[in-house]
Amino acid sequence: MQNNSQLKGYLRKDGRKGIRNVIVVAYLVECAHHVAREISSHFRGQQVHLIGFPGCYPNAYADRMMNALCTHPNVGGALLVSLGCESFNRNRLLENVAASGRPAHLVGIQQKGGTRKAIAEGIAWVEEAMQTIANVEVVNLQVSDLIVGTVCGGSDATSGITANPAVGKAFDTLVANNGIAIFEETGEMIGLEAIMSQRAITPALSEELRKSVEKAAKYYTIMGHGSFAPGNADGGLTTIEEKSMGAYCKSGNSPISGLIKPGDIPNKPGLYLMDVVPDGEPRFGFPNISDNAEIVEMIASGSHMILFTTGRGSVVGSAIAPVIKICANPETYERMQDDMDIDAGKILFNKASLDDVGNEIFTLIQAVAGGEKTCSESLGHQEFILTYKTFDPIGPGCLPV
């Protein structure tokens, strides 16, 4: 095991530890987006991130997500920007952030007297809050304090050979060191219900895992999305099970300890499946309209950082949590090096084994936890998206006791 005694984290009132100390500026409806962006832009290059929910109509999921995000361990304080007539429950969010021991403030654009005055008040508050949070207690951080999520985007034929299984190796090491690992994409696990459910630590969880993939299969069928496209066969994939394994292997080989939904925070060390497919009849369209929607959900469930595998070359990062980009394809890496943290494609040239790249990822997880910036962080990427969804609470068999 690596010596990580030098790692430090920002201690929060709920006992969780952050690896960053960010002020979030959160718009509570699209009508407040510009004001919030002007406030956060004033602090360009500093730890001030823009997040928000564009909808005017209420949504329990969005409400829960915003509360989880504004009290994420990487967040030191939150400025809420409200137009004034939107239906978002701003007062409860404000109370929750304040109760979590963080500086919190609400700027109402209508109440304040318009755009200019709201921006001025917001900037003044953030300046003060940044000084306040500079004094947050810093404590030792262990690998066992970390929650790490993984997603893939822009996959190609190399993804399932290099980057994805290498992330699986890193996840195995993380779980062996009592950390928490989260994977998702039940929509890409069709054909693996039996294989995945066998990894559950309890029979009740096994059943929940199987049901989550069935739900995804049903949902995507209604959305008109086929699972196995002709292009897959060109890349050497023969069966749906094989295609699904290419994404699923990011989960590694550890037992599966639980099933969570966005905003649920894992309660014990181990590996967790996140079910991101909405419950009930499809209502608001695709489960997640782009990669960042999944990233935000993993952050809402407490992920300190995200491992993002890509073959064709995604450039995104995220607000709140660093994104580590693991490039599966050596040609893409050559072309887009500035955006890629790890070159997993070297496996194709026999320059490294899957275990080597897995170790490289695990080492980088610790460095990033210690403050080292990822490529997307250095480049200023802070993508964020939150849309309407509907979820039922998880069942009793989903979390380890």
Partner: protein
Amino acid sequence: MSKLIQIHPNDNVLIVRQTILPGDEETINGIAIVFDKTIGLGHKIASTSIAAGAIIYKYGVPIGSALNQLHPGDHVHLHNMKSDYIATYTLAKEFIHAK
């Protein structure tokens, strides 16, 4: 350097990590194999003898089964293997029940 990679020790297929060209030679399971066609990145090659109906393992898990006897060096794809997946849920089933 071999153009093939074994992803998991329990696998009975190897994965092409650099395009195989006609005339390329690889030693698979101690047997020298000379390929007579181009096989692209990501495709599967049998690493051992696999009987008709036997399970194909990749990532250490079943990904389907062989349609006929496979020999080391055989290109394994749509023509000689099939999915064993039976959907536990199908839309059609639900529509039938609804009617």
